[in-house]
């Protein structure tokens, strides 16, 4: 152990992915016997940092000093070997095996190792000891699958303890726990701490961070912003550091004059998925769909755009009823659907920028059935230049572009389809901060030119920052509607949790 009790010292850790700097000179120090909270928004670099520490990724530069030894990179085996354990959001256990078998998985005790004969008795006894130490009333011979999620997580901790982990990383450990289970977890964490184990605790629940952490490091945009003792600061300070700048700058919203209703959806139903979805969208309007994952927002978009069928309901575009049975029908009606998964559903990665940009109704770039390749390239070149797409040329494969530039190709494709209604599902997912602002500006330009835009966002800030009006969904129903001025995170959360608006 190092003299001043510092167990982990991360210095200048940097990791770049094509088009995105995921980590940018991160410094963190964690002492033995402390719970160290790491806070930051989605995309701040927390999970990338964890992946460096567990050896899943290799840093581009920077060092990781652990237990007095300095590493420039770790691999999973070595990380485990030196005493870094990690408990992931998704449990990595095998439900059909017993508790003891899971604890010793990969590090079994043998009666005769050369003959591969396990010492079940000793393993069960040792497991019972570990469980008792952590105050868990669980039988070592119980099938893991019969335990609750909280207890399963404790078994993961037992695994880490058994492997003599000096540092345990916990990534959103309470996200799927009940209050009581979370309480048990914190008790066990306190015990680990008392034994001199360091814990990196990553959580979105800032009250948990406040109540359980000794030290906190706030990350933002891939950087470590500040580390401090928790008792000296408040939750409000953490939020301030996490957000870093005011929402106004992050979301360059420019309201556009609103025109007539261009999309009108009435009583859209799909059994078990959507119930009586009705709303209007005006030209010049950005309509936001908020709600939790699985609330039916993407499903609404897929029904309107013919990606999925719907059972009943009517859709009118610019006052004219349209029957949408397949994507082509909605495209012909002037609706563009920019899917959440660009790579899986939006783009053909092994094809060129020009091909992807002109794929919708490609036949219009030709005469008498023959395509003009020159016209295709020229059209693509023009629209890409307008959007400041960074590419070495129109022949470049789309799969080689960064997330932000890929999203621009998707937008280019739908611009060229002459759409009037743009439905963006998670428009900025997987895009770095600078490119996000460019996408927002493109949305501004769309509405300024009389298009109607629907954005489906899981980040509440984003929908509040960019939408003129917000619809909130819960379990396939619209449970709330509010203007940008009226919207607050509390109101949205309330509606997203299924409480219909009083007004």
């Amino acid at each position: 152990m190092v003299a001043d009790g510092i167990l982990l010292k991360v210095k200048g850790l940097t990791k770049k992915f094509p088009g995105v700097v995921a980590l940018d000179g991160v410094d963190i120090e964690a002492r033995a016997g402390e719970i160290h909270g790491i806070c930051g928004e989605n995309g701040a670099g927390k999970s990338t940092l964890i992946k460096m520490l567990t050896g899943a990724h290799t840093p581009d530069s920077g060092t990781i000093e652990f237990d007095g030894v300095t590493y420039t990179s770790l691999d999973p085996r070595r990380a485990m070997g030196v005493g870094i354990g990690c408990i992931y959001q998704e449990l990595n256990l095998i439900p059909h095996l017993t508790v003891a078998e899971n604890i010793f998985l990969g590090r079994e005790m043998y009666l005769a190792e050369s003959l591969n004969i396990l010492d079940r008795g000793q393993m069960n006894a040792k497991a019972a000891e570990l469980l008792a130490d952590l105050g868990l009333a669980v039988s070592p011979t119980a099938r893991l699958g019969t335990l609750g999620v909280g207890h399963q997580q404790m078994i993961e901790i037992c695994r880490a303890v058994w492997s003599n982990a000096k540092l345990i990383i916990m990534d959103e450990p309470t996200s799927s726990l009940s209050e009581k289970e979370a309480h048990d977890l914190f008790r066990v964490m306190a015990q680990m701490k008392a034994r001199g184990v360091a814990i990196l605790f990553i959580s979105h629940r800032l009250d948990e961070v406040r109540d359980n952490c000794d030290t906190v490091t706030v990350m933002r945009d891939g950087r470590s912003i500040e580390s401090f003792a928790m008792k000296e600061r408040s939750v409000a300070d953490i939020i301030q550091l996490m957000v870093g700048r005011s929402i106004q700058n992050k979301y360059p919203k420019e309201p556009a004059p609103q025109g007539d209703v261009i999309l009108s959806v009435r009583n859209l139903n799909r059994k078990g998925v959507l119930r009586d979805i009705s709303f209007d969208l005006r030209a010049g309007e950005v309509l936001g769909f908020a709600g939790l994952v699985g609330a039916g927002r993407t499903e609404t978009a897929r029904a309107i755009t013919g990606a999925d069928p719907y059972d009943s309901g009517s859709i009118e575009v610019s006052g004219k009823p349209v029957k949408i049975r397949q994507p082509l029908d909605s495209i012909n009606a002037g609706i563009a659907f920019l899917t959440e998964n660009r790579k899986e559903q939006g783009l053909i990665l092994i094809q060129s920028v020009a091909f992807n940009a002109t794929i919708v109704k490609m036949h219009k770039y030709g005469k008498a059935g023959w395509l003009s390749l020159g016209r295709i390239k020229e059209t693509a070149r023009k629209v890409c230049a307008e959007m400041r797409l960074k590419t070495s040329g129109m022949d470049m494969l789309v799969g080689k572009l960064s997330g932000g530039n890929q999203q621009k190709v998707v937008i280019a494709k739908w611009l060229l389809s002459n759409a009037k209604i743009f439905i963006f599902d998670e428009p900025t997912r997987g895009i770095d901060v600078g490119a996000k602002v460019e996408v927002y500006k493109l949305i501004n330009q769309l509405v300024a030119n009389g298009a109607g835009v629907i954005i489906i966002c899981s980040e509440m800030e984003e929908v509040m920052g960019m939408a003129d009006r917000i619809l909130v969904m819960h379990e396939g129903e619209i449970t709330g509607e509010m203007t940008q001025q009226d919207a607050t995170q509390e109101k949205i959360m309330y509606a997203a949790s299924g409480f219909k608006q009083a007004s």
Binding site: A307, L328, N332, L347, L349, I359, V360, G369, K390, N449
Partner: protein, 337 residues
């Protein structure tokens, strides 16, 4: 409102040339295949004085013709990330139907040819519908079933007997030459050039690439994916039948076991030609190089009196190597991202 939505007249800023490596890999591969063909020709020339004679080359050309035509359909199927294992059987059944039309029903030569091509197209369409309507999990299954069913019918219709002695019109494509050039060779040239333009210069052709590259993205872009797939398998059946017509002309007979194992050579040719089993990648121009490579290999081994058992082994080995190279190329393309 498309182009005037956004205002900027800037030139395209170049983002690093990361795209280059993949394009280079493709070009290098194509060059490699072409060089392999030339190298193989050079080796054969050195080993056998008979190889580089007009007679032999024209022989290779007419032997390659049947395989080349079958490979067109196979190429399209593989381009959509599918496969057509039924081409050999469809070839046989279509040719048998032509024999029956001409010999038993007494139809004229042109009507008989239409029966042949119609049978092939129909069988191909069934392959397509099995995939798109019945939603069988992969064309591997549906076309494997069709392979056995079509072969079974071909054997059944004449109780396994061949039919021979055709009118000149039916023999024309397979048996005649213009000067020293076999008509079948000219047919292949026309088909490949036509297919090249179809694939690169029509929206339907481009959509075949789109469907192969990403089915869901293609569907959401308004492409009628199922129609494209039906078309592809119909063309594959049609080209197999056309190959059957050429083969019938060349040997002046149709027989139920014609075209046995032809799918193997076609798959090998397409994969050697650089098409990817993952779909969406490949060029018909390279497919013909793959066809020629295999034809020269077979011809050379024949000239050198190599055991046919070894020929079979060699084709198998070539397929394995070509697919391994395909996987390698895909990894290179992914890692460059």
């Amino acid at each position: 409102m498309s182009n005037d939505v956004l205002t900027n007249n800037g030139k395209l800023p170049a983002e690093k040339a990361v795209g280059k490596s993949a394009a280079m890999t493709e070009k290098l591969y194509q060059l490699g295949v072409l060089l392999s063909l030339l190298l193989l020709c050079a080796v054969m020339t050195a080993l056998s004085p008979r190889f580089l004679t007009m007679d032999n080359l024209m022989n290779v050309a007419s032997q390659a013709a049947v395989s080349a035509i079958v490979s067109i359909g196979m190429f399209l199927a593989i381009l959509t990330a599918g496969i057509d294992l039924s081409v050999g059987s469809v070839l046989a059944l279509s040719a048998m139907m032509m024999g029956i039309a001409s010999d038993r029903w007494g139809l004229g030569p042109y009507a008989s040819i239409l029966v042949c091509l119609g049978s092939g197209a129909l069988l191909g369409l069934v392959n397509g519908l099995l995939l798109t309507k019945l939603r069988l999990p992969h064309p591997f299954i549906s076309t494997l079933g069709m392979q056995k069913m079509a072969r079974g019918i071909a054997l059944f219709v004449t109780a396994a007997a061949p039919i021979s002695m055709f009118p000149d019109e039916i023999q024309y494509l397979g048996n005649n030459s213009i000067g020293q050039v076999p008509v079948s060779f000219i047919l292949v040239a026309i088909l490949y050039v036509g297919m090249y333009f179809f694939l690169t210069r029509t929206s339907t052709g481009r959509y075949i690439y789109a469907v192969g590259g990403n089915k869901e993205a293609a569907r959401l872009s308004g492409i009628k994916v199922n129609s494209i797939l039906n078309l592809v398998y119909t063309i594959s059946g049609l080209t197999a039948a056309l190959a059957g017509l050429v083969l019938a002309g060349r040997v002046n007979a149709v027989y139920p076991l014609a075209g046995l194992d032809y799918e193997t050579d076609a798959i090998a040719a397409v994969i050697i030609g650089g098409a990817s089993f993952f779909g969406g990648v490949g060029s018909i121009a390279n497919t013909i190089i793959g066809v020629l490579l295999i034809a020269v290999l077979r011809n050379g081994l024949n000239l050198l009196n190599v055991d046919s058992a070894f020929q079979t082994f060699a084709i198998g080995a070539v397929i394995v190597v070509a697919v391994a190279v395909d996987v390698l190329r895909q990894n290179v393309m992914k890692s460059g991202r």
